[in-house]
Symmetry: C2
Subunit: 334 residues, 2 copies
DNA sequence: GTAGGGCCCGGGAGCGCTTCCAATAACCCT
DNA sequence: AGGGTTATTGGAAGCGCTCCCGGGCCCTAC
């Protein structure tokens, strides 16, 4: 292990021959310090290798210098979805411009939720980003209870939080469905995501929108859970119930990948027999065979915007909720 | 936003009619407090909704109550690999048993590295887990410079850190190669991972071990980068250079998936024409067609063991480095 | 009867930093 | 030259908690 204790501000001040206050002003480059003293302090800092102690600073300023990203999901495996990795990456990108640290809280278990509670109540962080809420998620209620700004990533099912960033799920799904209709498909099914999430229901509604406009039968529906396995299972049920199906809009790329697998297993060709459209446009969409036509949502941007919004909240501003656009990416599967 | 300021320990003490010291003893359930006072304090805590301020506590105890998981990679996209998600999950599982928070540092950019430096020097965390080091990674050197315990996940290329958790990469890769040999394959190629990582070179050596024992030609090698795209590209080069190839051991599951894609594109069947073995046994191994025979490494366990080791280091113990076993998982691709 | 030897208990000194404040010093203008 | 700013200073009071210490008490043992 390492050498000695880190030097304190007092030691720096002593070495520079100034008061602690002056030294403090220098390292925070505040005003009211003569150039001479400023130089002296800076030299001392360099010589001693001084780094301010964030804990002490936090105690004095009442600002922790950290924010939490809380990912809520029922099944830990969900976290494996590259979707979350992209979110983290986006958040991180924005945070890197600041001095804020990122606290990651996986709030799947009740354990994790208790932990998040504790963090909020004890002001262990200056703000919170909350992702992926299911309908019954008790986390949703936490937002108002504490004196800490909370930004939602996606919306909880039955509430409109004060601050959130979301993607235009409904619009994107409608786009996808319209594309299939434009292709001449008429027996278009949908494999939804989890229906206890806003994203799941919104994407389903987008499908319903487009089908209604075209006057098509919107009843071919099976529920998935955003996962590959769930998509495959739903596709199998779909084929059994509606063998005439000639297109399917899936709740996510993983869902679509699963559907592709099931379709292949049942001897249907894609896009020949059945056209498939995903949602997300993650890297997986490129690795399927055929490559997925899908609805692009700016996942990285979603993370970035969440962080930005939180930052502006922390700065005392009043940002507006944000809904990011989605767009269709045409590839081989539809 | 929320209500008022959180109550302080002084307020709790006042309300309970005891000294602050006594109140402190109660919430840390230390000894030397009468049952009566204990009850009084506990009642006050409940009534006031008191939660100790971690910052103040950290300042007083010199223990931050947080550890960092630092993921180092050159390309942010690498983080998207579910491998990292599993690591995070494993670490989190172990940390959930404690009161420690998880600080996530993505040390890809020089920005991120500076940040990690800062964290170490300012004692913003009680310990560090460092993952995925490339050979030239400056992070590797940080371990000894600071008074903070550091556990490595995987080893850096040219150094044997004091504390690390790794998988038996060499042994696993040897197992895979032996399996192919046992299948009667004789023109076995290898697509390596990044050769500036320990995992990359160790897996290559495992292949060399097995080939040497069998007296086979080990020169059919192309370098990948653990990614799907890299695997596909390498496979294409392999086919051009060594059309006789009848098996390939890949540096990772993603690499194998890419190889599968390239093989299919070139009209080779798997495992008929060419057998393929991956490494990792992530979920992706189940989603390829055919499903991947692969070397299982306990990724989740790797995360868990890193956390455990760090915990024991923080507790002042002297754990030993740990190499986790790998094993062959037979599925359809070989 | 009294000298220990536990327990409780509260006072108070920090942990390392920020920041208010009163005291000086420097500077401007007319 | 003098009154009024405006800039620098260092002292000192916290931020909210932990923990060392010394003072009481009560019990036991001699």
């Amino acid at each position: 292990m390492g050498p000695k204790r880190q030097p304190t501000l007092d030691e720096v001040a002593a070495r520079a021959g100034v008061s602690r206050s002056a030294a403090s002003r220098v390292i925070n480059n505040a005003r009211h310090v003569s150039q001479a003293k400023r130089d002296a302090v800076e030299r001392a800092v360099a010589e001693l290798g001084f780094v301010p102690n964030p804990t002490a600073r936090a105690l004095a300023t009442q600002q922790v210098g950290a924010v939490v990203l809380a990912l809520s999901h029922h099944d830990p495996a969900q976290f494996t979805d590259p979707f979350f990795a992209q979110i983290v990456l986006g958040v991180n990108a924005e945070l890197e411009k600041t001095e804020l640290e990122l606290l990651l809280v996986l709030a799947d278990t009740t354990q994790g939720q208790a932990r998040l509670q504790r963090i909020l109540r004890s002001r262990r962080a200056d703000g919170v980003m909350l992702m992926a809420l299911h309908g019954d998620d008790p986390l949703a209620a936490l937002a108002d209870q504490h004196d800490v700004p909370v930004v939602f990533g996606g919306r909880p099912l039955h509430a409109e939080p004060r601050w959130y960033v979301d993607a235009d799920n409904r619009g994107g799904s409608r786009l996808a469905t319209e594309h299939l209709i434009g292709l001449g498909r008429r027996h278009i099914a949908v494999i939804t995501g989890q229906m206890d999430t806003e994203a799941g229901t919104a994407r389903h509604r987008g499908y319903l929108d487009a089908m209604a406009v075209a006057g098509l039968d919107p009843s071919r529906v099976e529920h998935g859970d955003f996962s590959e396995a769930g998509g495959a299972a739903a596709m199998t049920r779909l084929l059994a119930a509606y063998p005439e199906v000639d297109a399917v809009v899936a709740g996510s790329d993983a869902t679509a990948a699963g559907a592709l697998r099931a379709l292949k297993a049942h001897g249907r060709t894609v896009p020949g027999d059945v056209a498939v459209i995903g949602f997300d446009d993650l890297l997986t969409a490129l690795h399927t065979d055929p490559q997925l036509t899908t609805v692009h949502q700016p996942v990285h941007g979603l993370g970035r915007e969440m962080a930005k919004m939180l930052l502006s909240l922390i700065a005392g501003e009043e940002p507006h909720p944000l809904i990011l656009p989605t767009r269709l990416v045409r590839r081989a599967s539809a």
